[in-house]
């Protein structure tokens, strides 16, 4: 419909004659053959969301730091250098007199009344273990736990939500099951699960892997209910929309109905749940470690570091501040990414 308008000037400028206008009009239609992959549109829209880009950059930075960090910072997270114990972080130099700050940064070993060192820029703990190294390896565990637990919760929650919403026969059963999980008191449940399964899993998979599986499972299994409820509600509403009826009149079977029509349309709430889920999982893991229920004490995670740091909050606040800052940063950046992604995935918002 817009063709004549577009092609009229090009036809006029090309030769001035009427005859070349027809092939000119024909050519672009043929050339514009394959539609562009819509993920490019998603990316284009995502790029316009400044918060999301910032969040993505921040999150990637954290990921790169914890993944590549051990290659650059070769100190072992569990190496005990007892003589360097209780070293302050380098930022503590700012606490000195004005004149002494620069010399403290340049030559920390000679700083008056302050134990700082470039060998341990974030300081050491009460046993002389390097906090930067512990932050890096703790970040690996925390992020891995956060993302796997979120993925687990999301898969379970979305699966149950879609099944309950789409298949009326399963609805009552699955939703009562969800209510059952919602009604369980979380902390006592976690205590019981961890007490019961910690040792067998450790024996089966090794101390670190066993507890990783346990924590991921525990967090995943206790946080899928919100997603399930939200998804079910949305599916129930979507199921009555005419395009689902239209797909049925075409003969689309149920499984493809779900994957093609239902799931893309419940993407927004799932996205939101997912980003909140990562945040929640990291925080729950921190809380578990904080309570002493998570990973063993010689196995650093951000939550564990936070827990260990609280005893020294008065003298060495940095031991609490650094893990706290990184947890918050990771959570915040993921939330922004989720926000941007949700907008980008909705074609109605795209391009505005």
């Amino acid at each position: 419909m817009t063709d004549p308008a577009i092609n009229a000037p090009s036809g006029a400028t090309s030769a001035g004659a009427a005859s070349p206008a027809a092939p000119v009009a024909e050519a672009p239609v043929q050339a514009r053959a394959t539609p562009r992959n819509q993920w490019w549109d998603v990316w284009d829209q995502f790029r316009t969301h400044r918060g999301a880009l910032l969040g993505l950059a921040c999150f990637l930075l954290i990921v790169v730091m914890v993944v590549l960090g051990p290659l650059l910072w070769r100190l072992d997270a569990t190496f005990i250098d007892i003589r360097a114990k209780n070293t302050r972080h380098i930022v503590a130099c700012f606490g000195l007199d004005w004149g002494a700050i620069i010399s403290c940064f340049l030559n920390p070993a000679e700083a008056e009344g302050l134990k700082v060192s470039w060998a341990h820029p974030l300081g050491t703990d009460q046993l002389g273990r390097d906090i930067l190294a512990r932050m890096i390896s703790g970040g690996q565990v925390s992020l891995a736990v956060g993302m796997t637990a979120m993925a687990l919760a999301l898969i379970v929650g979305t699966g149950i939500g879609v099944l309950a919403g789409y298949f009326k026969r399963l609805d009552g059963l699955l939703m009562r099951f969800t209510d059952l999980f919602l009604a369980l008191p979380l902390l006592p449940l976690l205590l019981v699960i961890i007490m019961l399964f910690r040792d067998p899993l450790r024996a089966a998979f090794g101390p670190a892997e066993g507890i990783f599986i346990l924590i991921v499972f525990v967090i995943g299994i206790t946080s899928w209910m919100q997603t399930a409820r939200i998804v079910r509600g949305d599916v129930l509403a979507l199921k009555e929309r005419e395009f689902v009826l239209a797909a049925r009149s075409i003969g689309t079977p149920s499984r493809r109905m779900v994957t093609r029509h239902i799931l893309p349309n419940v993407m927004s709430p799932i996205m939101v749940s997912a980003t909140l889920g990562i945040a929640n999982a990291i925080i729950t893991e921190s809380a578990l470690s904080f309570l002493g229920l998570g990973f063993p004490s010689d196995f650093p995670t951000w939550g564990r570091l936070l827990f260990d740091g609280t005893d020294y909050l008065q003298q060495y606040p940095e031991r609490v501040v650094w893990p706290g800052v990184f947890i918050s940063l990771a959570v915040l950046s993921v939330n922004y990414i989720g926000d941007g992604l949700r907008d980008a995935l909705d074609p109605r918002i795209r391009g505005r």
Partner: protein
């Protein structure tokens, strides 16, 4: 067309019933049923357009959807091209789907907002053919040409189109599998008048080109008069009259049809003054609790005692003209002669009425 050798029956609907259960009480047991479609019988011949008219809530759309078995039928037989779809299994039904398609009322709601036009129009092809991606795209372009959509729009989303264009997308989707039979469920109700004409003309052109058969559901009597070959009038889940278009519009038999037609505005002001409007009293009874006897007996201006007692049969009272009304039953059991006289009187009165 009707005088010619009888064309092949493409769609045969026999005693179609679609009841929706009403649940109530603590145990959510079924305490009744909304009889949305309650025993409908008609045939559609190959290449014709059957108009299905009636007021809101009389079961037109439900009937259309039930014929394509988008609902599980309560009772009845629906044969499309010889195969009974009322009791076909899911797999059989899926194989039969390409022959019958549907154009929906609300073009906005019937298109998935997250799919591009190419994906929407290509979906039936994806489900029912093993075309390669390139072939499918070529076919999508062909269909877009057929319904008058610019090929450049293939990669756009439904919200970027106007109502008329969206309806064209819906029509293109319905055409994708070369169906024989299309149910048009008020395809023009959500469009404004200038676009209505475009879409109806498009439907007519396509019918001519592709030899389609339509069930055209509408409440717009003048549009049905324009497009349909035969017209069925529905009231409260039942067909009260089925007749060739011209015969129906010039001399309706059933009192409800008469009342319905009298509501069509007359464009000529000099004639408008002369038109005698039949205004029905009262409301449509609830389809959950239809009246005893004839469904229309509560509002019929020509109601008789028998109407409250016995449900009229849906019979061919004149060649090609079916109606369900006691006015035309000469062979009902009691007081036959008396009734026959009154019927004759009515008939002559009606036929004499200038229209």
């Amino acid at each position: 067309m009707l005088d010619a050798a009888p064309a092949k029956k493409l769609v045969e609907v026999d005693n179609l019933k679609m009841h929706f259960p009403i649940q109530g009480g603590i145990l959510r047991r079924q305490i009744g049923a909304v009889k949305a479609v309650d025993g409908v019988t008609f045939d559609i011949f190959e290449g014709e357009t059957l108009g299905l008219v009636g007021e809101s809530g009389c079961g037109k759309s439900t009937c259309g959807r039930a014929i394509l078995r988008l609902y599980e039928l309560t009772d009845g037989v629906v044969k499309i091209d010889g195969s009974n779809i009322a009791d076909a299994s899911t797999e059989e039904l899926r194989r039969l789907r390409p022959a019958m398609q549907m154009v929906f009322q609300d073009p906005q709601a019937s298109l998935n907002p997250r799919m591009t036009v190419a994906a929407i129009v290509g979906e039936p092809l994806m489900e029912h053919s093993t075309m390669s991606k390139a072939d499918r795209l070529a076919r999508v372009y062909e269909l877009m040409d057929a319904v008058g959509l610019n090929r450049d729009f293939a990669n756009r989303y439904p919200h970027e189109f106007s109502g008329g264009q969206r309806q064209r997308i819906g029509i293109a989707r319905a055409l994708a599998l070369n169906p024989k039979f299309i149910v048009c469920d008020e395809p023009i109700a959500a469009l404004d008048v200038s676009i209505q004409a475009q879409v109806v003309n498009l439907l007519e052109d396509l019918q001519e080109k592709l030899g389609l058969t339509y069930l055209f559901i509408s409440h717009d009597l003048s549009m049905v008069r324009h497009i349909a070959d035969r017209v069925a009038v529905m009231y409260l889940g039942k067909i009260v009259e089925l007749a060739p278009r011209d015969a129906l519009y010039s001399g309706p038999l059933h009192p409800y049809t008469e009342a319905l037609l009298s509501a069509v505005p007359e464009p000529d002001p000099s004639l408008e003054a002369k038109v005698e409007r039949i205004i029905l009293q009262g409301d449509v009874p609830s389809p959950a609790n239809p009246p005893k006897g004839c469904n229309f007996s509560t509002r019929c201006p020509k109601v008789m005692d028998i109407c409250h007692e016995i449900e009229p049969e849906f019979d061919e009272v004149q060649p090609w003209r079916f109606t369900a009304c006691h006015l035309y039953k000469e062979t009902t059991n009691q007081t036959a002669s008396q009734k026959a006289a009154s019927t004759e009187a009515h008939k002559s009165a009606q036929l004499g009425e200038p229209k």
